[in-house]
């Protein structure tokens, strides 16, 4: 069971188009991330990173393979979950290249929105949001407008949002791209802390040379195939 929790994918393929014009974006990808683990997903442009992330995020349907999320099979040559919207809301956290916070909500409500969408009472959702903001050291900006935050603060708020429904998996799409080295390393440190604190499996897609040495495990993706290698796991101060 332990092996199956977190995220586990076997033989995942994705083909765009049909016949002579068909493109195999993913070819029998295998990947496994345990709860509390942060792994890197690295590859050149066009290698299939984004396609893999979209398959994992249940926004596009793979062509074949098997995916297990938090111990439950969600895809096995076809979706095994009827409502993918609820799957994304409750069981997958997303962190984007840019924070993409909702500009007309304050910091707390940006985080509390997810539990509210999941049906939690407003008070409980806001309390949970404040707890996460505290853990990420941005509680002092709880009632601020998102436009008043620095880039690093915004990214921490987006991490808090991704964790708001306590999902077993977080997909981070180049979360450090717009940040300088110091802030980028700080974000990775936070991701590691959150992963171990909330037992969340985190996949970080990145090009960022600064943060690659911090991963203990790295998946390289090239021409739609993944290759696993051990990372340096450099200690974060």
């Amino acid at each position: 069971m332990k092996k199956e929790s977190g995220i586990h994918i076997e033989g995942l393929s994705k083909r765009y188009g049909e016949g002579a014009t068909a493109v195999d974006a993913l070819k029998e990808v295998n990947m496994s991330v345990a709860p509390g683990e942060v792994v890197g997903l690295i590859g050149p442009s066009g290698s299939g990173k984004t396609t893999l992330l979209k398959c994992l995020g249940a926004v596009i349907e793979p062509t074949q393979g098997r995916m297990t999320l938090g111990g439950e099979v969600i895809y096995d040559n076809g979706w095994r979950i009827s409502d993918l919207r609820v799957l994304r809301r409750d069981r997958i956290g997303f962190i984007f290249q840019a924070p993409y916070l909702i500009p007309f909500l304050d910091v707390t409500d940006n985080v509390a929105l997810l539990p509210m969408l999941a049906g939690r009472p407003n008070g409980e959702a806001r309390a949970r949001a404040l707890e996460l903001l505290q853990a990420l050291d941005v509680a002092h900006r709880a009632s601020a407008e998102t436009s008043e935050l620095s880039g690093g603060e915004q990214q921490r708020v987006s991490i808090a949002r991704a964790l708001a429904n306590r999902p077993p998996v977080i997909l981070a799409d180049e979360p450090t791209a717009p940040l300088d080295s110091e802030r980028a390393l700080a974000v990775v440190r936070i991701l590691n802390q959150m992963a171990s604190q909330y037992h969340t499996a985190i996949i970080v897609v990145t090009h960022d040379e600064k943060i690659i040495p911090t991963f203990k495990r790295i998946y390289h993706i090239r021409d739609g195939r993944t290759y696993e290698e051990a990372g340096e796991g450099r200690a974060l101060q």
Binding site: T50, V59, V86, F94, F96, F104, L113, L117
Partner: protein, 397 residues
């Protein structure tokens, strides 16, 4: 759950208020156009009410005296007075002309009436009623005249002795009431040169200037220089008699046309202002379409500006109906702001219009419903665009 639409409106309130202001001014114009039409109808009703008549007796085969010209002898009223069911009958004349005051002139309808009879202004807001037989006038306040002003109608000067209000013609010209004899003279008064020419022409006509008939030429000249006609006779029906029955008798025995109140109202509203009403209706339709296009364009542009946020909202599990409701509520909010500003604007600028602008509560309710329907329809384009947004676009840029 957070009200996303409300938060967005609060976040960009200045944009919403300014857009709502623009939309509101457009809605205000729409309300005013409707108010102008209502005012025209109300003016017509007030005109009929204030005349104090139950019947309008006019020239046969005409729709006079307001919609068509009508001319009947001024002694007809005596024979009408003798008919069964007639309590009062009085001559009236109407003439639209430029009334001069000093160097300025005002377009007005000059009404000739007999004091104490149907046709006189029903109430005054200043001054007194006409007590002399000549050269006194009562004017509607919209003429801009004041009590004591000296005004010129043709060759004679009149003193304004009283002011009335809401007495305007179907064309919107304010009324000036003067004694009937003066009004008859004003209608047909010629200048001295024209009188001399007319007399010479009559004198040169051997049929009218016969040597064997003394006094004939003088009699013809006298008749040519006096007017014994009026435009209508206003009749008040005695209690217990049906206006329609009295009108039937007048039509049958006097060979005149007689209209009851409902018929006259129909002439004024359905015939006389029908073209203006259609014109206003066209404007209302165009303004409604323009308002809808503006709301649709604004909401659509605002939605396109939030495509990334909408993709993120969809990716994190927001229902399509929540996103659609957000856009719909914003559209309705914009309509609400526009409606409120439009209603206030129309109320403020309405009294400054030269014609009476009547803003009816019923029109406000109908306007509100139309604004909400238009905003709902206008939001569909934006909702369609939002629902088409692929949540996958939030990932990978």
């Amino acid at each position: 759950m957070i009200n996303l639409a409300g938060r967005d409106i609060l976040h960009s309130w200045s944009k919403f208020v300014l857009t709502g202001l623009g939309l509101g001014l457009l809605i205000g114009v729409t309300f005013t156009m409707a108010g102008v039409y209502r005012g025209m109808v109300d003016d017509a009703k007030v005109l009929l009410n204030n005349s104090g008549a139950d019947l309008w007796v006019v020239q046969k085969d005409t729709l006079g005296p307001y919609a068509e010209s009508s001319s009947i002898p001024d002694d007809i009223y005596r024979s009408i007075l003798g008919m069964s069911g007639v309590a009062q009958a009085a001559n009236v004349s109407y003439l639209t002309m430029q009334v001069r005051k000093g160097d300025t002139d005002v377009r007005a309808m000059v009404v000739g009436f007999e004091p104490g009879q149907p046709g006189e202004p029903s109430y005054l807001v200043a001054g007194r009623r006409i007590t002399r037989s000549h050269y006194e006038a009562v004017a509607d306040v919209k003429t801009g005249f004041a009590v004591g002003d000296r005004i010129r109608i043709r060759r004679h000067e009149y003193t304004v002795v009283g002011l009335t209000q809401r007495m305007v013609s179907s064309g919107g010209d304010p009324m000036v009431f003067i004694p009937l004899k003066d009004a008859q003279e004003a209608q047909f008064l010629k200048d001295n040169d024209a009188i001399i020419n007319q007399r010479a022409r009559t004198g040169a006509n051997p049929a009218l200037n016969r040597p064997g008939v003394p006094g004939l030429l003088d009699a013809i000249n006298a008749s040519q220089n006096s007017n014994r006609n009026v435009n209508a006779v206003l009749v008040r029906v005695a209690e217990g008699h049906s206006p329609e029955a009295v009108a039937q008798d007048i039509r049958r025995w006097k060979h005149l046309q007689a209209f009851i109140r409902a018929q006259m109202e129909n002439i004024l509203i359905a015939k006389l202002i029908a073209t203006a009403a259609r014109q206003i209706a066209m404007f209302l339709v165009i303004l409604t379409i323009v308002s809808a296009a503006i709301v649709a364009f604004i909401i659509y542009t605002m939605t396109l500006g939030k495509i990334r946020e909408i993709a993120v909202l969809k990716l994190i599990g927001t229902h399509n109906r929540t996103i659609a409701a957000m856009i719909l509520q914003q559209s309705l909010g914009l309509g609400l702001i526009g409606f409120a500003i439009g209603r206030i604007a129309a109320t403020i600028w309405g009294p400054f219009f030269p014609r009476y602008v009547l803003l009816e509560p019923g029109d406000a309710v109908r306007g509100f419903v139309i604004v909400m329907v238009v905003c709902t329809l206008a939001s569909t384009l934006a909702i369609r665009a939002a629902l088409k947004v692929d949540p996958a676009t939030a990932i990978g840029g």
